[in-house]
Structures are given as structure tokens and as C-alpha cells.
Symmetry: C2
Amino acid sequence: MSESGKVYLVGAGPGAPDLLTLRAARLIERADVLFHDALVHPEVIALARHAIVIPVGKRCGRHSTAQRFINKRLVDAAREHAVVVRLKGGDPMLFGRAQEEIDALEAAGIDYEVVPGITAALAASAHLGTSLTQRGSARSVAFVTPRIGEGHDPAEWVHPLIASDAGAIYMGVGQAAEIAQRLIGAGMSERTPLVIVENASLPDARRFYGTLASLPALGAREMRGPAIILIGSQFVERVTEADAAFTTSAVAA
Amino acid sequence: MSESGKVYLVGAGPGAPDLLTLRAARLIERADVLFHDALVHPEVIALARHAIVIPVGKRCGRHSTAQRFINKRLVDAAREHAVVVRLKGGDPMLFGRAQEEIDALEAAGIDYEVVPGITAALAASAHLGTSLTQRGSARSVAFVTPRIGEGHDPAEWVHPLIASDAGAIYMGVGQAAEIAQRLIGAGMSERTPLVIVENASLPDARRFYGTLASLPALGAREMRGPAIILIGSQFVERVTEADAAFTTSAVAA
């Protein structure tokens, strides 16, 4: 292991460059090689002073660069360079597919370290001023990503959402109609409040309030960036004085 | 609103001072008044260059200072100072009781902003090198905190854990025996792997692997700092070369 460099799997956070951690910023500054996802902010990448910068372009869960090829490049980079940073949007360990890279690094005997990042649901919750958990009324929150279509058991994401007081649905906006249909079909009330938060933490963040019944219409809007669905009784529309200017709302069906 | 200052509800992250976000660090440096929980690292508090520093001592969910009194102090501080920072361990919106403070600030017409932080489960997952979600096998994760005793419905935390592929149990180690009993009683296998991570992200972090059957014994150990339970099939003991020196394991009953 002493002959190879070290790979840092680093969470870049939800989008805003100043929501990077201090540790992440220092590692990027020291990096010899920087691999990054498509959604990482250019100002974050610009922190890399002398690194070879390699975009690996995964976007919204789709593989632009095959995972196995990324794994191999990480291993190869660590064999030639001391500090290899693999920058992922949000947190590496929550819908970040870090495990496949970790397993590849371990198999190759490469030293690694994971640096956590702010995940999208927390940035969205902060943006709204509405807690994911609330004393008394919301004691649990499920983080899921839906897989829809043949061969996939909807129970794997429907049941956690039904059983929990609140939910954060990652990479779901493109499948909004199916999500609403499945959850209503499983017994969740059509009137369950929810909100789509787009570009959470960025200056152009937007929020779209609705209910499970109006989710298909909300999800059909054109999104300008990554979006997350937060669902639960606390996500009724809250309009404060400061919000009013940029809040967009939807009327429940 | 223009006559009052602004209150920033800021996540201090899981413990390590360099897991603070850049935004949080800059706000603390600018703070006129800094309110902080008991678990915030001294180096983080030391970033406050000219602030009046006020510990409000909430620890592990127990109220050392009554919440209503904290709410009032935040409002009072914002009426006298421009930048008031309320620093909370982890993330303010996930088991951080931020909503009570937000509601009080809104009621008083005080401007506020929430700055997300790294939550303990993500730091624990990073420490272990084991993802909370894993493609194929772990598509959902429930974040819960158990309330045990008369008047509390165990379904509120038991069902989310049973329905999800993985779980993060906050503030649960002190109730480990009851948690194991409830989950086994609800049908979860005694052999379900889990791990307690103590002081995640700090140099003295420890991990205790086990199963639902051995959880009571694991939880009876004396913890030296805040601890979280991660449960799910992926949390079987992983011993890598680098780990071996500081891994403590438990044998499943």
C-alpha cells in the first residue's frame, strides 16, 4: 500500500460551493488528480490548483462513464499519484455509488478515505425552513430512490415511505406520475403534502408545493437542475415574508 | 425585520472541526453572538473571533436549557445584534429540533437562515467505508430516533426500520436492549447485522460490530461520546488492513 497513493472519496455537497466542508476543500487543493461528477460546481473544481482534472460525467444516476471504467481509472491514478480525489455530488455514501469504488480500491490494495458531504435532502430542508424530523409529529424519515418498471419490486421504496413520517425521494422527479400512482395505490392519502426542491442551496433554487395528487403535474414541469421530492405532513406550503418573492406553488388537485 | 439582526441556524457537523462547511466557518467568524450545543468541538467555537459565546448545553436529546428559553434568547439576541449564530451538532433539520427555533423566530418576525451540516449517520458510514445505500441490495434507509415507554407508540420507529433496507438509529444506544427486543418482536431477524459507531469523524472514533441479538451487550458498553447505530445487511464486519488495529468486534449471540 505504501507504494500507491491514496484515494479520497469526497462529498461535494448539494451544489453551493461554500457548502463544501473544510476537509474537502483542503483535499481538492492538494489533489494531484481530481475525478468529478457532472453536477459539481465549477468553483469547487477550480479549487484544484495543480490537479489533472477528469470529468467522469455521471448525472442523475445515469452512467455516462461506465462504473467499472471509473473504478479502474481510480486504481490506475493511485498507482501514479499521491493524492487522488474522487468528488461526488452530495454525500458519497447516500445514493452516491461509493461502494463499487470502495470495493474496487480494496480489491486492488489501494488506501482510501471517505469524506462525507451535505446530502440534497438536508439542503432542501434548510432551504424550505422545514425540518425533516419534528418533535412529536415527524420522528422518522426514509431516504429512497425509486426504481420503476419490470423486474423491480416497488415495495423496496414504497414501503419505507409508507412506514415513515416523512420521506426524501432522490432521483424521482422524472418518474413523478408513477411514484404518485404507486404510493396512492399502496394506501397513502392523495392529500399528503409534498414539495419538489430544485437546485437546493443554489441562488436559483426553486420550490414547488403540492400533494401526492398534484405530483404528476409538478413533475411534468421542466426542471433546470437536480431536484428532490420531500414528502410528509410538515411539507405544507409555508409562505414567509422573505419567501413570497420566489415561491412557486401548485394547487392540489 | 430590517431593525433586527439575522439568526443563522448552523449545522456544526458530526464532530471533527474540519467537517464544518465553508459557509458555517465564515458565519461563525462573523458572529456577534454564538449559541452552541454541548457537543460542538472547541476548535469550532474558537473560530468565533469577537462573538459573545453562550453554551446552551443540549446533550444527546436531553434539555439542559429549556427549549423555550433558548428560543427567547435567540429572539432577544437578534434584536440587539446583527449576526446571531445558533450552532447545532450534526444537521439542524434532522433530529436537531430546529423547527421549534424557526417557529419562534418567524413568530417574532426575525429573519433567519438554515445552514445544513453533515449528519452523524453519514460520518459513521464514511468511517466504516460502508455505504448506507448500495446499488441492488440497499435502496432505502430510514433515519429514526426511538422513544420507549408508556404513551409512545413503538410503530413510529419500528415500522420504518422494518420496511427499509437499512437504518440509522439516532440517540438509541442507551436504549439498546429495548430496541433489540422491539425489532425482534416485530419480526426482524436476530441475525441482522449492525454496528455502533462512537465519535464518528473524530480521531478516537470506535466501531462495535454485532447483530440484533448482541445489541443489548454492545449497548451496555460505556460510550465515551455520541454514538449511532447503523443496521442492515451491509453492516457485517469488514476488516481491512488499515482497520485491523482499531476495530473492536462483538460476536453475535
